[in-house]
């Protein structure tokens, strides 16, 4: 199930809220959440729900073992078991086809390529359960005694299928007991509606424009490719950050505080800055569980560069089992190294505007790599975009289409910059004078969003979540 569907909004969500608040006891509340989450997951993935439960049982057991035999050698075996099995699942379900077809093409042989459908959210929940065991192993958190509570942490539907990647340590104090205030709930609802708007009103529309511009790259005009990639940049940001907003908002309504995942990435003034603002829970995950254990930057320069190389290869690969994602990861590795070791002083002296233009250019090219899983299409797109193919600069249909959609492009661009922050601080000022200013604003905002989003959902069957693939 996805949040931006009528079934979720009008059936699943009100029913879950009803049962959650009708039961008074914390244990029962957790059971309600587990049942709701398993229904939510099995709605889209009725068979692989057992994989989710298996992964939970594994790390629940492993962590209890580690806790019991703390200080003894056998704990190493336990943690190895968790890492090997979790990564093994990920390998088998997500990467086996990719590796075998790569081997086939390198050695020119014909091994059978397994045709698993990728279980929804596997990249997210295997990371969550594995990092939990690692945290227990390192002694950073205590092992969870109740299986139901642990299963709730893993399966919690707001963040189950598309992040943010919530670590056990982020919410361990909230698992057994949560306090929900009226303000927190109201904030959560507004956050949810804002995320829904991002997804339904901006990302979907940008996506349909982008795919029509990038569909036939070989005959596309130069500007079509660039505008297409720009619209794709809008799509992927509003899709993914909208989903995170909805997750964080839902979390609030059920009493959880999830970490932020995006902080206006398109106002970044360097690539380093971009990765501090884009999919934050993923980059901190790789930082804490790969980069730092490898020695981080407390090692000699060549080793440090090697560590970064590993991290960014994995980051790329995490996004999908295809070479273009690996290239995309390494592309960022190059720019991050350049900024870290070469350009640092130069960048510091450069005016902000120039740095912003540089960063956005790099990011756009990055999306061009990210978009085309098919290499020959990617090659064509690049040769068209940089004028090597001799295609026309612009194309009348494309120009008319862009002119037609100027209002949309302006709205999307404005939504990328911290306008919401400005509005918020304005309302905070009003709030000091009248205590109902914020609630009234929220009410109006929520109702308007609801009408617009439900209308758009009803009016369109075009509703795929991009991040389902990961």
């Amino acid at each position: 199930m996805v949040f931006s569907s009528l079934v979720f909004l009008f059936i699943f969500f009100p029913l879950t809220l009803f049962f959650y608040f009708v039961v008074k006891n914390d244990k029962l509340k957790n059971i309600v959440l587990v049942i709701a989450s398993l229904i939510f997951y099995s709605w889209g993935e009725p068979v692989w729900v057992c994989l989710l439960i298996f992964s939970s049982v594994l790390d629940y057991t492993v962590s209890l073992g580690i806790e019991k035999y703390r200080g003894q050698k056998i704990t190493k075996l336990f943690i190895a078991l968790s890492v090997v099995i979790n990564l093994g699942l990920l390998m088998a379900f997500k990467y086996s086809g990719f590796f075998i077809s790569t081997i086939n093409s390198v050695f020119n042989i014909a091994l059978r390529v397994p045709a698993f459908s990728l279980p929804i959210g596997i990249s997210f929940y295997t990371f969550q359960t594995m990092s939990y065991s690692l945290d227990v192993y390192k002694g950073e958190v205590k092992a969870q005694k109740s299986f139901i509570d642990f299963l709730m942490f893993v399966s919690l539907f707001p963040q189950l299928i598309a992040g943010p990647i919530v670590r056990y340590s982020d919410i361990d104090t909230q698992i057994a007991h949560r306090t929900i205030t009226v303000e927190k709930f109201a904030d959560g609802m507004t956050r949810f509606m804002a995320g829904l708007g991002k997804k339904v009103l901006i990302a979907n529309y940008a996506g349909s424009l982008a795919s029509s511009l990038l569909e036939n790259v070989e005959s596309a005009a130069v500007l079509s490719v660039w505008v297409g990639v720009l619209l794709y940049a809008f799509q992927i940001y509003f899709d993914f950050s909208g989903y995170s907003d909805m997750a964080i908002g839902l979390g609030h309504m059920f009493g959880f505080d999830y970490p932020e995942n995006f902080i206006y990435p398109y106002i970044s003034t360097s690539i380093t800055d971009f990765w501090r603002r884009w999919h934050i829970t993923l980059s901190t995950f790789f930082r804490d569980y790969v980069y730092i254990p490898l020695g981080g930057n407390r090692v000699k320069l060549p080793r440090q560069i090697f560590n970064l190389f590993i991290v960014w290869t994995l980051t790329g690969l995490w996004h999908g089992a295809s070479w273009n994602f690996v290239i995309w990861g390494l592309y960022y590795f190059v720019f991050l190294c350049l900024e870290k070791f070469v350009l640092k002083n130069i960048l510091d002296k450069t005016p902000k505007v120039i740095r912003w233009i540089y960063s956005m250019f790099v990011v756009l090219i990055g999306w061009m790599i990210f978009y085309f899983e098919d290499f020959s299409a990617m090659k064509t797109a690049f040769s068209v975009a940089f004028g090597a193919s001799g295609n026309a600069l612009s194309d009348p249909v494309m120009s008319a289409m862009i002119v037609n959609n100027i209002p949309f492009i302006i709205i999307a661009a404005i939504a990328c910059v911290p306008v919401a922050k400005l509005v918020k601080s304005g309302i905070d000022k009003l709030q000091k004078r009248s205590p109902v200013a914020r609630p009234i604003f929220n009410t109006v905002f929520n109702v308007v969003m609801l009408v617009l989003c439900v209308a758009s959902l009803a009016g369109s069957t075009y509703n795929p979540f991009l991040y389902f693939r990961f």
């Binding site: 009100p14 009725p46 109201a186 295609n391 026309a392 009348p396 249909v397 002119v403 100027i406 369109s460």
Partner: protein, 447 residues
């Protein structure tokens, strides 16, 4: 004070939850509709639950579809969502209602079901005279009979490269020279396999060439005139047919549909006049034939865009009955036509809403038309649906007309020509074909 704030906060989310819950509750008890008039389709009905359906995932996807289709006040919500898109894109309100993805014009070809096309066509007597030819090699682009202002206000539909100008929908055209090379090479290769046949190529321009502002149809990228001459220049031993000039000088007539990507029978007639010059026969006079109109007709481009301007002003299909007696059979599996079904060259009693299927009943693998034209000439036309409006004209002058749509069936052209003793071969395609990979693959497989 704190209390008031609390009450208003509660309101801010309860309103939303109340709407979700009440509408959600109501949605289970309202009456389900069978079909939607607005969309011209049947709506999904409630699926029955079973564990096996649930675990296969069928139940959940069917249920989602059902719930979306039967959502309360769906029609009103769709209208609001159209307004949102209109706001985003300057579209005139009420236009561009539901944007459906265009399958690229020709798609896979379409045909009437075989029951719809029993028994062959009818009537009048024949007038036939063979006459002289003159080759035409044009150097300057012929004058377009209509003038289109360059500051015309057009709308472009986002997902399908369809331009709306006034009440006319047109598909955007771009020359892709590498694909046009492949097209010409394929024809040359097929031609080389048939040394005894007389081979023609006719490339048909589309409406955007004549009815849109210059930026859509001039220059290396967009001029179909340049594209056609480019292809003709690459051909070896193939007689080229200058349909373009004939069409251009008659564009003040009804040559192209406004809601469909095809030309009309009248448009095809002018191409036929150009063909007659090259093939050396006297064309029939259009005014001498029994004629009629099939209306209303809303075609592929309307289906792709749902433009309300065009919907209010639909096309009609004008037909002309050949002057000869015709009998036609077709097959999608057997190139020898040993097993076949009957089709009509012009079906005047068509019930399908796609009235263009009146011509030949749409696209079939192989069609054979036998006429009582007083000669022994035979021709095979290799084509997609553009030729469907054209072939009836040939029936005035050829004893036997074969039609092959390579997308529908694998046919080896050279042996087909040989075994059926065919004298002439015409490749007739519209200008979008070189970039249509399905057609091009099929055409390549004919050799």
């Amino acid at each position: 004070m704190k209390n008031i704030q609390k009450i208003f906060s509660v309101i801010s989310f309860s309103v939303i939850i109340a709407i979700f819950a009440v509408v959600g509750f109501y949605s289970f008890f309202d009456k389900d509709e069978k079909s939607s008039e607005m969309e011209n389709r049947n709506l999904a009905q409630r699926p029955s639950f079973s564990l096996s359906a649930y675990f296969s995932g069928d139940f959940t996807s069917d249920f989602e579809e059902y719930y979306n289709d039967q959502f309360p006040a769906r029609n009103m919500l769709v209208k609001i969502s159209n307004k949102i898109e209109a706001f985003y894109s300057f579209l005139t309100l009420g236009d561009g209602e539901t944007i459906i993805k265009n399958n690229g014009g020709v798609g896979d070809g379409e045909a009437l079901s075989h029951e719809e096309e029993t028994s062959a066509t009818q009537v009048p007597d024949s007038t036939e005279n063979d006459s002289t030819t003159q080759g035409s090699t044009e150097t300057t682009q012929p004058q377009n009979a209509v003038t289109v202002p360059d500051d015309a206000q057009e709308t472009v539909y986002k997902s399908n490269y369809v331009v709306l100008l006034g009440n006319r929908l047109m598909e955007q055209y771009t020359n892709v020279y590498s694909k046009m090379d492949v097209y010409a090479e394929t024809l040359n290769r097929l031609r080389a396999e048939m040394p005894d046949a007389k081979v023609y190529s006719l490339m048909a321009p589309t409406s955007i060439e004549f009815y849109a502002p210059k930026k859509y149809n001039t220059g290396k990228s967009h001029s179909q005139y340049m594209g056609i001459n480019y292809i003709y220049g690459e051909l070896n031993g193939i007689i080229t047919v200058d349909a373009y000039s004939q069409l251009a000088t008659h564009t003040n007539e009804y040559l192209y549909f406004r809601s469909d990507h095809h030309w009309t029978a009248r448009g095809a007639y002018y191409a036929y006049l150009a063909f007659a010059q090259q093939a050396g026969f006297t064309p029939v006079d259009i005014n001498s034939l029994e004629t009629g109109k099939l209306s209303p007709f809303l075609g592929t481009l309307y289906r792709a865009t749902q433009s309300s301007v065009v919907e209010k002003d639909p096309d009609y299909v004008e037909y002309f009955i050949p002057s000869t007696q015709t009998e036609a059979i077709a097959s999608d599996t057997d190139p020898t036509l040993a097993s076949h079904y009957k089709v009509k060259v012009v079906n005047t009693e068509i019930t399908s809403s796609n009235k263009y299927l009146a011509f030949l009943g749409g696209d079939h693998g192989v069609t054979k038309i036998t006429t009582d034209a007083p000669n022994e000439r035979s021709i095979v036309v290799i084509k997609e649906s553009y030729a469907n409006a054209f072939v009836p004209w040939l029936c005035n002058n050829y004893k036997t007309v074969y039609v092959i749509d390579p997308r529908q069936m694998d046919v080896k052209l050279a042996s087909f020509v040989k075994s059926n003793n065919i004298d002439e071969v015409l490749f007739l395609n519209y200008m979008f074909i070189p970039t249509n990979s399905k057609y091009m693959t099929a055409l390549g497989n004919m050799g």
